[in-house]
């Protein structure tokens, strides 16, 4: 029978072929119990978590949990309304104040998810006749924001400063320009040369939006991200971020110094036409963000974990997404989806969870085992992880 679902037939077939090999479905794992930011019970087995975005391990922080419980008691389970109507509580203002302080910026606007922050800001500020110039490896939420708006969308090759500059120079005189970049690209864990790219963007009269979802809390002297690390944060017009990674809950935001930024609260549809975050969520986010301002020791330990895992996996013979560790993401390149899924399953049986990433999420059609480290992973756990990878890689023939 042919109907609207027929277009999904190739994917359905690919999936059933993969599962027919007897491999555990990598996309329907359930965590039965979460023991800590780094350990859970998955499929009945104690498992080290190396595929979460819990970079700073804030999800079980006692102060964060206490703040959430207090907010549940004081403000109830949800707001049942839009930010612009009945959905702005004291906690929403408080978390926006925490963000302004964290980034040292004048304005902060909190969305219900990070996806909506990109969707809302990009589709609203770049309109008909404007041009969006963006990296081809941008996150789905950036692409969807482009698609939702009416601007002309012009991609350039990943991290290619020359390709970006050529496209900026070809834009018709007088058209509005927005350059969209990410600090850390989450598939390979590589960072952008933001300082050079932002200079080129500014020289060509463009505004700049940087998604720092995977760097917040960790990269930069104060955890403000790659732009802070490279000394160009003051040239970024809009920083997009999320609460669902280092902050350890859910939600998204944009911070900016633009003098007219507050008007976004009235014109940005993904902000207006959805319910605001529950009080407990903004309370946990606010407490977590304030603690992240002072988490220098945790940042140092996470960098150490990243360096040790990168070296350990490289020495074991794995092909990695970057030559040097550039973030808390270490990406292990698999030869194809079948062997990637087999390796993923072998790791799970060893008691290690990583992300299996495949096209279209990955660049260049790659299958990746993506490892994201946590500041709460102990040095011993990292050594255990390297041992698990080595055994599973040998058993599946990924390494010789």
């Amino acid at each position: 029978m042919s109907d609207l679902f027929s277009k999904f037939d190739p994917l359905i077939e690919m999936r059933s072929n993969l599962l027919a090999t007897g491999v555990t479905d990598p996309f329907s794992m359930v965590m039965e119990k979460v023991l800590s930011p780094t350990e859970a019970i998955c499929n009945g087995r104690p498992t080290i978590l190396l595929g979460t975005y819990n970079y700073m391990g804030m999800t079980f922080d006692p102060d964060v949990i206490a703040a959430g419980k207090q907010a549940l008691d004081d403000f109830g389970s949800g707001t049942t309304g839009s930010r612009v109507l009945n959905g702005t509580y004291a906690g929403h203002r408080a978390v926006e104040d925490a963000l302004k302080e964290f980034y040292g910026m004048d304005h902060a606007m909190v969305f219900s998810t990070g996806y909506q922050a990109n969707l809302g800001i990009i589709s609203t500020i770049a309109g008909k006749g404007d041009y969006i110039v963006l990296d081809i490896d941008s996150h789905a939420s950036i692409w969807d924001g482009c698609k939702m708006g009416d601007a002309e969308v012009v991609p350039f090759k990943h991290n290619d400063i020359g390709a970006m500059e050529k496209r900026l120079k070809r834009i018709p005189e007088g058209a509005g320009k927005l350059v969209v970049l990410e600090g850390v690209y989450s598939m390979l864990g590589d960072i952008a040369p933001l300082k050079e790219m932002i200079k080129v963007a500014k020289d060509n009269g463009a505004m700049v939006l940087v998604d720092e979802a995977h760097s917040m809390g960790f990269i930069g002297p104060n955890g403000r991200g790659v732009a802070e690390e490279q000394g160009c944060l003051e040239d970024v017009d809009f920083v997009i971020g999320t609460f669902s990674k280092s902050v350890g809950t859910v939600g998204g935001f944009c911070v900016s110094n633009h003098p007219k930024f507050e008007i976004m609260r009235l014109v940005c549809r993904p902000y207006v036409f959805t319910a605001s975050l529950p009080p407990s969520v903004v309370a946990t986010a606010c407490t977590s963000i304030r603690k992240l301002m002072h988490s220098h020791n945790k940042r140092a330990h996470l960098w150490e974990n990243s360096r040790v895992l990168h070296k350990g996996l490289r020495d074991a013979g794995f092909q990695l997404g970057t030559d040097e560790p550039q973030s808390a993401i270490i990406s292990v390149i698999m030869p194809d989806l079948e062997r990637g899924a087999a390796m993923w399953e072998a790791l799970l049986k060893e008691g290690l969870y990583v992300n299996l990433a495949r096209p279209p999420a990955t660049p260049a059609g790659m299958t990746l085992l993506r490892c994201s480290l946590c500041a709460e992973h102990s040095a011993e756990q990292v050594q255990t992880i390297i041992g698990m990878f080595t055994r599973a890689g040998t058993a599946t023939g990924i390494i010789g």
């Binding site: 482009c146 002309e152 969308v153 012009v154 991609p155 090759k157 496209r167 070809r170 834009i171 279209p360």
Partner: protein, 79 residues
């Protein structure tokens, strides 16, 4: 540049991407006949953009399915 000259230039650019040597006419489709995936499209579009010093935005690319439509679009974009 007239249509014939534009087409000849694009024909030279597509050669490295036309790995199976598919015979090209105005009705040849990129997704169907040439089996271009999104990465190939990006590299091919970038080559055309650099050759003619133009922008073919994603919005414009969405309207281009065949060889004939591409040549017409590039002729038009050169002004």
């Amino acid at each position: 540049m007239d249509r014939a000259a534009t087409e000849a230039k694009i024909a030279a650019l597509i050669e490295p991407f036309n790995k199976k040597g598919v015979a090209i006419s105005d009705a040849t489709t990129f997704a169907g006949d040439l089996e271009f995936d999104s990465l190939t499209v990006m590299d091919f579009v970038a080559a055309i953009e650099d050759e003619f010093d133009i922008i073919i935005s994603m919005n414009q690319q969405a309207e281009i399915e065949t060889w004939g439509q591409l040549v017409d679009a590039v002729v038009k974009l050169q002004g």
